[in-house]
């Protein structure tokens, strides 16, 4: 059991159903229990000024959604429990993950861009910036077994190392193969090759098959990563995030969030 427990945070959206899919696939393979949770924000439900009917509607609807998820878990032979929380959606998920000591949080995302993204808050991205628990985000239906081949983009820093180490552990548990990739910069390919060699050696030492690809950074980094995931038919992407928030995020942006918003495969993010 690699994950101890999986937390699948859901709502009534379509991507949430994909999160249930992926949660059940992983839990079945890992033989770990799943906790399905729905977090209802009391402020957003206007519970603060006593709109009990709307809260009651939301609560009974949440119970209905969770009952559907539990039924699917039972059919898949996965042990599962469920929780409805009245809390800020992002903090509620993080607190529950910490309290239950889960190994990973799985969530769906709409992957909104442009004006829609500016107008609506992405709970998945908010969780990503604040949690230290690994997070698996999905916006399209999972195809296949999702853990066959992981694409592991990384750069030469502490977080990059953490990403490939985590991916190696994951691959060891799920019998996966790894595709390491890094972006070449102005210093040329040599540095990139060294990085890839180091990661491949680390994987080989633990009996994991891997290949490495140095990518040229002509286009945006996120689209280069996503292109490679398609070319090499990877089942999921494992990457690290700085979890920048506020002004720093505005200035530097986030490659991980850009990947999440456009990826066709699940993205597992560690911090």
């Amino acid at each position: 059991m690699f994950f101890n427990k999986l937390l699948v945070a859901i709502d009534d959206s379509v991507p949430s159903q994909y999160a249930i899919d992926i949660g059940l696939i992983i839990a079945k393979r890992d033989e770990c229990p799943v906790i399905f949770c729905i977090v209802l924000d009391p402020a957003l439900l206007a519970q603060n000024y006593g709109l009990s009917s709307i809260c009651e509607l939301a609560e009974s609807f949440a119970a209905e959604i969770l009952a559907g998820a539990l039924k699917r878990a039972s059919e898949a032979g996965v042990q599962a429990t469920s929780k409805v929380l009245f809390h800020d959606a992002c903090q509620g998920i993080i607190d529950l993950a910490n309290a239950e000591n889960v190994g990973m949080i799985a969530m769906g995302t709409h992957g909104r861009t442009g004006i829609a993204r500016a107008l609506t808050r992405s709970i998945a991205e908010s969780v990503l910036r604040r949690t230290t628990t690994p997070l698996c985000v999905i916006r399209r239906p999972p195809i296949g077994k999702i853990y066959g081949r992981f694409l592991v983009p990384f750069v030469d820093d502490e977080l990059g190392q953490a990403a490939y180490r985590y991916a190696v552990d994951l691959a060891g548990n799920f019998d996966s193969t790894l595709l390491f990739c890094t972006i070449t910069d102005s210093s040329g390919n040599r540095r990139a090759e060294e990085l890839l060699e180091r990661a491949k050696r680390f994987a080989l030492d633990r009996g994991i098959k891997s290949i490495g690809v140095a990518l040229e950074g002509h286009k945006s980094i996120s689209s280069t990563i996503l292109e490679q995931a398609g070319v090499f038919e990877c089942d999921a992407i494992v990457m690290a995030s700085h979890g920048r928030d506020g002004f720093m995020r505005l200035v530097k942006g986030s490659v991980t969030e850009a990947v999440i918003r456009s990826s066709l495969t699940p993205v597992i993010v560690i911090r």
Partner: protein, 516 residues
């Protein structure tokens, strides 16, 4: 309930969240919003076009008032019945019956010029439209996904507010541009579009309860009660109240029908359709209904303002409607502000309502001061925008107060009561303020005329200026007296809205903040 008698059985309709996704969601919400808009504008639209409708049917003023009464009495009675209809027939079938019936009656009205046919069709039109509001609001609430449920109440409040402000514009524009028959066509087409959209896109999760028995006596009493109220609101002052035997009869009918209806529903029937016990069980329902009645009285200021614009400053009905519709621009800001303040719990809902009521009184005072015979439409732009902002902040929390305290099983009944309390206030406002304006106009005319004696140099110079000077002077006095009477009525509205402040003190405190 009398001791020893079997317990009353209230109809309980199924209310559950069945959110749509993608285009279905938007179409279902748009259709529900359109139906609420038609419902909210229908009465004011016809009132604005009443002189034109009377013209094509050759109806006298006495007969024309039945165009309003014949619609409103069954409309209000059916709103109160609609939670029962919802439980009996299911949500979607009831919406379809209501919308299609209303559309067909409206189209038939557009082709009718025979007085008895118009009155009969108006009766049916009101009956069908009364079916619509409760199930459509439930459709709006239950079609939203979880993330958007926070928007249910502000969106609902905004649509209801906007509908209330657009009726005069729509009615005025249609009758002045296309003639009286055209007044029925847009709402008929809008309901047909809404019906088609709901038929195809709204989810069908209905469990009709055919075993429910119709409360014939209760409905008849309610119809009689609302008919008498509406008749008095229309005709009371026009016929000089107790000097007219018909008004006297209506007062007797109202005096008998009201306690009879309440007693029947509370004690004498096992299958009531109106659940008055909710007022005792939920304090905020009673408080919110009281506030809504006050808002209904204040809502009559729209009609008074429209008459002022048309009679004193000689604007067209369309222009009057445009000036009234101006306030919708700031409604959205007011609703949003109130929502943010309340949902973030920055200020207690009772304080928000009290402050907004005082601000609304100040805005009405501003209206009163702007109402002079020399004013024009532009004079009211600033005060209309300010009124829109504060009135929206006052109105937005009220649905939460009225229906917010109710559990899901009582939501349809709560929505019906919420909907009905505004017209009750409006009818009271029509009767009271209409009488007040007439009396104040007479008093002001007498006051100004008595001051205009020939000992004043300006008056004697004016009278001596030509042969038609006395006629002109009389006209000036009447115009000034009317303007002052309308100004006085706005001050009365300002005083009335302050009643909200003591009322809201009785509201239950907000639910405790959930643990975080």
């Amino acid at each position: 309930m009398q001791s020893g008698s079997p317990p009353q059985e209230f109809p309980i309709a199924e209310v559950a969240q069945h959110p749509e996704a993608g285009a279905d969601l938007y179409v279902a919400i748009a259709a529900a919003t359109l139906a609420i808009l038609v419902d909210g504008t229908s009465s004011a639209t016809i009132t604005a076009g009443l002189p034109y409708i009377a013209g094509i049917s050759g109806a006298t003023p006495d007969e024309a008032s039945w165009f309003v009464t014949a619609f409103n009495a069954p409309y209000y009675a059916t709103i109160l019945l609609s939670p029962w209809l919802y439980a009996r027939f299911g949500r979607k079938p009831l919406i379809m019956i209501g919308l299609l019936g209303y559309a067909l009656c409206s189209l038939a009205l557009a082709l009718s010029s025979w007085y008895p046919a118009i009155v009969s069709l108006r009766f049916l039109e009101g009956t069908f439209l009364g079916c619509v509001f409760v199930p459509v609001v439930i459709l709006l609430f239950t079609s939203l996904p979880l993330a958007a449920m926070r928007l249910a109440v502000p969106a609902f409040a905004l649509v209801v507010l906007v509908a209330g402000a657009l009726g005069t514009l729509i009615g005025g524009y249609l009758t002045e541009t296309y003639g009286a028959a055209a007044i029925y066509v847009p709402s008929a087409l809008a309901t047909l579009v809404a019906a088609a959209a709901i038929w195809y896109y709204a989810p069908n999760y209905d469990s009709p309860q055919p075993q429910l028995r119709f409360d014939v006596v209760g409905y008849t009493l309610s119809l009689t009660l609302f008919g008498a109220m509406q008749y008095l609101a229309n005709e009371g002052e026009r016929r000089n109240w107790l000097e007219d035997p018909n008004v006297f009869r209506a007062i007797v009918v109202l005096t008998l029908a009201f306690p009879a209806f309440v007693a029947w529903e509370l004690f004498y029937t096992r299958r009531p359709h109106a659940n008055f016990r909710l007022f005792a069980a939920y304090r905020n329902l009673a408080v919110g209904s009281g506030i809504n009645i006050v808002l209904g009285i204040v809502g009559y200021s729209v009609t008074v303002f429209s008459i002022f614009l048309q009679t004193v400053i000689a604007s067209t009905t369309t222009l009057a409607g445009e000036v009234i519709a101006l306030r919708t621009l700031t409604y959205i800001v007011g609703v949003f502000l109130a929502f943010v303040i309340l949902s973030r719990r920055l200020i207690d809902v009772r304080i928000v309502v009290a402050i907004a009521a005082i601000a609304t009184a100040v805005a009405l005072y501003g209206f009163a001061n702007a109402m002079t015979p020399t004013a024009d439409a532009a004079t009211f732009i600033g005060v209309s925008l300010a009124f829109g902002l504060v009135f929206a902040m006052l109105s937005q929390p009220v649905p939460a107060l009225v229906i917010g305290a109710l559990p899901l099983r009582d939501l349809p009944a709560g929505i019906a009561i919420y909907k009905l309390t505004v017209p009750i206030g409006l009818m009271a406002g029509t009767a009271l303020v209409g009488t007040f304006i007439d009396h104040r106009a007479a008093f002001r005319a007498s006051e100004i005329a008595s001051a205009a004696d020939l000992s004043r140099t300006a008056v004697s110079t004016f009278v001596g200026s030509g042969s038609s000077a006395l006629v002109k002077l009389s006209g000036l006095i009447t115009a000034q007296a009317q303007a002052l009477a309308y100004r006085d009525s706005m001050l009365l509205f300002a005083a009335a809205v302050l009643l909200v402040v003591p009322l809201v003190i009785f509201a239950a405190p907000p639910a405790p903040r959930p643990p975080e």
